[in-house]
């Protein structure tokens, strides 16, 4: 078991290393070198050489990458050439904002999605299952950012129940904090509610058709117990998908933050793009990728831990 965990962990690190390398190469592939961007078009070649040497940009590519990666692993994302600010500090300021939206959306998606999916699976062909089917298609089809716009229009502008945007940190009051992240989190969650509901429904329905469920019925077990039997086998793929969704949600949170004008990683990333601050961009994208890879790893591990067959074969 431990060997398996370690193996998966190192495989993920390896993935991150290579994906990071691609990212590093891509940031270097864009038009304009960092020196040109910082020093302007008028800079002399001597100034540029000097700048590049001072910032280690004249070293071999792989060496630069290794140095950067090593620093990142210690929590040092470097200092921006453009703003002169510490990239790690910038990220540390924006990450909790994004994280609070994503976490709330994640909780909503899991509770509502798995709940709806389970209920729909218990009575296949029933009215609730039909409604779920329709709801799932709608949930999958309405883009989160448009849903956000519609929510702002009705909940914030017409009904004035919630603020239309902005962000209040939890330190300035939990209620106010939740009020600011409620609509973004819901907009973000809807798609994943649909995804998880559909998966739960399909998986549980499948499990309920399983031979072991028939056996349990033939032995006279009660219905709740039989559903529990089926859930034990139906949930691992759902939990796997939920873990993956956590990673995906960060990506879509970028767009949602734009809609609700939330100062999270999205603003930092778009700023980095508009200022051509590649070190900041690199840092943020690497962070996203790391979160995504970890979510993948988590999904994988959850599956293995839940499945006794894989647990003991490790």
């Amino acid at each position: 078991m431990f060997r398996l965990l370690a193996g998966r962990f190192f495989a993920s690190l390896g993935t991150l290393f290579f994906v990071g390398l691609v990212l590093f190469a891509l940031t270097r592939a864009g038009p304009g070198s960092p020196a040109r961007i910082v020093l302007g078009a008028d800079a002399t070649s001597q100034q540029i050489t000097q700048f590049e040497h001072a910032n280690g940009l004249d070293r071999p590519f792989l060496e630069q990458y290794a140095a950067w990666l090593f620093d990142v692993l210690r929590g040092d994302f470097g200092k921006s050439f453009v703003t002169g600010r510490d990239v790690a500090g910038e990220i540390a300021g924006a990450l909790p904002v994004t994280l609070s939206v994503v976490l709330l959306a994640f909780v909503i998606a899991i509770v509502v999605g798995i709940g709806i999916g389970s209920l729909a699976a218990l009575r296949p062909g029933g009215p609730f299952a039909s409604v779920t089917r329709l709801g799932v298609v709608l949930g999958l089809s309405i883009p989160a950012f448009w849903l956000g716009i519609v929510l702002i229009r009705f909940i914030a502008v017409e009904l004035r129940w919630l603020p239309p945007g902005g962000y209040v940190p939890p330190s300035s009051g939990l209620i106010a904090h939740l009020q600011t992240i409620a609509m973004p989190a819901v907009s973000l969650a809807v798609y994943y509610i649909a995804v998880l509901a559909r998966m739960t429904q399909a998986s549980l329905q499948d499990a309920l058709r399983g031979d072991y469920v028939r056996t349990a019925r033939a032995m006279g077990l009660s219905s709740p117990r039989i559903v529990f039997y089926a859930l034990l086998n139906a949930l691992p793929p759902v939990i796997n998908l939920a873990a993956l969704s956590f990673g995906y949600m960060f990506g879509w949170a970028l767009i949602i933050e734009q809609v609700f004008n939330i100062p999270g990683l999205s603003r930092a990333l778009l700023n980095a793009i508009s200022q051509r601050d590649f070190l900041l961009l690199q840092g943020i994208v690497f962070l996203f990728t790391a979160i995504f890879v970890l979510a993948n790893l988590g999904a994988d591990l959850v599956n293995r831990v839940l499945d006794p067959r894989q647990r003991s074969s490790a």
Binding site: R209, D211, R214, A216, A218, M219, G220, L306, D307
Partner: protein, 320 residues
């Protein structure tokens, strides 16, 4: 014959199709006495498993019993409430299935699955349930049962899994065990062991058994009486020796002759031409008529009744 423990009367089961109901079990009729072992023999599509699922009320969403009665111990199971059925299943009648691999829950230990059955029917403490589970597992020949309680199904071999399933079935001492092709998915040597185990349980626990199989030889080894089914109907029913050695229905005779044996004469096997009737395309008359070498016009037109002849019953216009 003493008063039957189970009496199936004119049982009909149909699938729901887009064009309405498709009848697959078309009036099955037989009884099982207490402690009696009955074999049901038939090919795929004969309705043998389906009628037993109907007895257990386990047909699922796609099929349902459309007629007849299933009297168990004086009670019509087809009219019983689902709650009542839950009491009966596992406590009075238990059923084991063909594929022991998929019939056990892969996510739970063997012990948990057996004790769950015990606790579904008896108000006992956890430790008492465990004791009963160990006893049941030992009863079906699983050694070191106490230690094996914590094993998961995938850690068991196919034969062991089938034993564990039988342990679940007998844990509450039911009076009737329905075994649906319990050995088909197993290796021959294991198959012999399981057959032996069922014979043993019957002897020691006084259990009545319905043993479903496609193999007449296998069934004849342990059962008292054989019910032969074809096309959703009982075609012949009688003491095992009579059915195997002196069957009167042409289908039963051919069924026996077309299975090769280790002792009979060599040479081509008796073959039954054609294939069993498909669901929804049952002939109007005797279902076997299209393949029957003895078929006459009457056979094609009208289904022969199941006529009693001493200890047996035969549904054939031209019995041999």
């Amino acid at each position: 014959m003493s008063a039957p423990l189970l009496r199936i009367e004119e049982l009909r089961v149909a699938f729901r199709g887009t064009g309405g109901l498709i009848e697959a079990v078309r009036g099955v009729d037989f009884g099982v006495a207490p402690g009696e072992v009955v074999g049901i023999v038939g090919e795929s599509g004969s309705g043998k498993s389906l009628s037993m699922l109907a007895v257990m009320r386990l047909l699922g969403a796609t099929a349902r019993a459309t007629g007849g009665r299933v009297i168990f111990d004086g009670e019509d199971l087809l009219a019983a409430t689902e709650a009542r059925m839950r009491e009966i299943r596992g406590r009075d009648i238990a059923m084991v299935f063909q594929d022991p691999q998929s019939s056990l829950n892969p996510a739970l230990t063997i012990g948990r699955q057996v004790t769950d059955v015990v606790r579904a029917h008896r108000r006992v403490s956890a430790s008492e349930a465990r004791r009963i589970a160990v006893e049941a597992l030992e009863r079906v020949g699983i050694s070191e049962a106490g230690r094996r309680l914590d094993a998961y199904p995938h850690e068991f071999s196919g034969g062991m899994r089938q034993r564990a399933l039988i342990a679940m079935a007998i844990a509450c001492r039911p009076r009737l065990l329905i075994a649906d092709e319990p050995t088909t998915a197993l290796d021959v040597t294991v198959q012999a062991q399981i057959v032996e185990l069922i014979a043993e349980l019957r002897r020691d626990l006084g259990l009545a058994v319905i043993f479903i199989s496609h193999n007449l030889h296998l069934v004849a080894e342990i059962v008292d009486r054989v019910v032969v089914m074809y096309g959703g109907k009982v075609v012949e029913d009688g003491p095992a020796a009579d059915i195997e050695l002196a069957a009167r229905h042409p289908y039963t005779r051919l069924l026996r002759a077309c299975v090769p044996s280790l002792h009979g004469p060599l040479g081509p096997l008796a073959a039954i031409e054609g294939a069993p009737p498909r669901l929804g395309r049952m002939p109007a008359g005797c279902p076997f008529a299209p393949r029957c070498p003895q078929a006459a016009d009457a056979c094609e037109r009208e289904m022969p009744p199941l006529a009693t002849d001493g200890a047996r019953r035969i549904a054939c216009w031209r019995p041999q």
